[in-house]
């Protein structure tokens, strides 16, 4: 369990980091918390010749809420997300989700940027970001661009991020409605067997004004369930429409057999988990 050799770089700013990455190209990997990358390197499934560590880039470590928008620097750790009262007020689902990631030690090191950028379908933050309708800021040699989380994921470990770009910032609208992140896993530290992020807003008349659903680890990318979300808004939260929304979401999933169980089981569990998330979010709405 020893990694290959590499050269270590610690740029102090985003432009410096981008320049380094441009210069080193395919031989380099950006390291954030490293808790996905280092184990992969120990298995020698990744053998980068250069590591560009972003820990010294101070502007990447921030949480701000203003004008109804949340902006989080990519190097903000899950522990920091959990600790931030400001963020908790603006989007309580973030704390709920973060607490279900890995274990305390990993959350001190694991970053939001790393979690969303590496494209691992097992990660929890991508679906959450889709649910929150977040956008990711990418900085590359050609400057900055923004990609919506719902359009970012292409396949397992393949994203809209170009190899020479660094994901620097995550932005999403503050959300005060009902929320839930439900995750079934075998134990603390495990990826999801199935997980669902749900946001629901209840109107003054008790109707569902806004709904957003996304799923974790049930396909080779996180899944934003657009149709299911729309159904809850148009048809309400009675059991028939919840059933139909769940059925619609289940139409999108494509789980694979693994040690957590066969796809058939995951389909069943995913529907239960989603239903629970919807119920919980609605109860909190």
């Amino acid at each position: 369990m020893i990694t290959g050799n590499f050269e270590y770089h610690q740029p102090g700013s985003i432009p410096e980091a981008v320049a380094l990455l441009s210069k080193l190209g395919d031989d380099a990997r950006v390291i954030a918390g490293g808790h996905s990358l280092i184990p992969t390197m120990k298995l020698r499934l990744a053998m980068p010749e250069h590591l560009i560590d972003l820990q010294a880039v101070k502007e990447l470590r921030k949480i701000s809420v203003s004008g109804g928008e949340v902006c989080i620097g990519a190097m903000t750790t899950q522990a920091e997300l959990i600790a931030s009262e400001e963020l908790h007020k603006a989007a309580p689902i973030v704390r709920e989700t973060s607490l279900q990631i890995a274990d305390p030690q990993v959350r001190y090191m694991g970053t939001l940027g790393g979690n969303v950028a590496n494209g691992d379908p097992g990660n929890d933050m991508p679906a959450l970001m889709q649910c929150l309708d977040a956008s990711f800021t990418l900085s590359g040699p050609d400057g900055e661009r923004t990609v919506n989380a719902r359009e970012f994921y292409e396949a397992a470990y393949f994203t809209a991020r170009d190899d020479l770009e660094i994901l620097t910032e995550i932005r999403f609208p503050a959300y005060s409605g009902g929320y839930a992140y439900e995750k079934q896993k075998r134990k603390i530290g495990d990826y999801a067997t199935a997980a669902a992020a749900v946001l629901l807003t209840k109107g003054a008349d008790g109707s569902c004004e806004q709904a957003s659903i996304a799923l974790t680890n049930l396909s080779d990318t996180p899944l934003f369930c657009e149709e299911a979300s729309r159904q809850l808004v148009s048809d309400g939260l009675d059991s028939a429409s919840v059933n139909s929304a769940v059925a619609s979401a289940m139409g999108q999933i494509d789980p694979v057999d693994d040690n957590r169980g066969p796809a058939e089981f995951k389909r069943h569990a995913a529907a239960i988990i989603l239903r629970r998330a919807i119920q919980q979010a609605w109860a909190r709405a």
Binding site: N5, Y8, Q10, D103, Q105, V106
Partner: protein
């Protein structure tokens, strides 16, 4: 690959090590600095036997390159107490049989220390959730949880405030 000079503050002392960038913090601590309290149990960030405190965070030192720890303050089990005055957690683990083979103990106590720093009045649930990154094969955790709860209680006694 050439070695780099790494300056660390370990258990209150400035130390220097020469290491390749790929050398893990746990290896530098154990092999160069002879800090053998933290152990290697899984190497895949699951077991927590290698837990140390780094700038106020509990981290698994098998998943941190030593170069990443440049300039940081590291506290290991060796820095928590000394033979003449054990840390309350060390006392309570002894008192409540919170260990058996002892292999997970340094990581467990180091983690519990940070947990109590952040949450001085934990519930049993808080403790169980807070130490879930540290595996133990011997104790079934029941007496570990008891030890941590007892340490919290002791630390909260007015007379023990220093």
């Amino acid at each position: 690959m050439s070695k780099q000079t790494i300056n660390l503050n370990v258990n209150g002392q400035s130390v220097t090590a020469e290491a390749e960038p790929r050398e893990l913090l746990i290896h530098v601590l154990r092999e160069q600095l002879e800090i053998t309290g933290p152990h290697i149990g899984c190497e895949t960030t699951h077991c927590g036997a290698c837990t140390v405190d780094m700038d106020g965070m509990s981290v698994k030192s098998c998943t941190v390159f030593a170069v990443q720890a440049q300039g940081k303050e590291i506290t290991t089990i060796e820095g928590l107490g000394d033979p003449d005055k054990l840390h309350v957690l060390q006392e309570k683990f002894k008192e409540h049989h919170g260990l058996q083979c002892g292999f997970c103990t340094p990581g467990m106590i180091t983690r519990a220390h940070r947990l109590l720093e952040e949450n001085p009045n934990p519930t049993e649930e808080d403790v169980r959730f807070g130490i879930a990154g540290n595996l133990c094969r011997c104790t079934g955790y029941q007496n570990i949880v008891k030890s941590v709860m007892a340490a919290a209680e002791e630390l909260n006694k007015p007379e023990s405030v220093t």
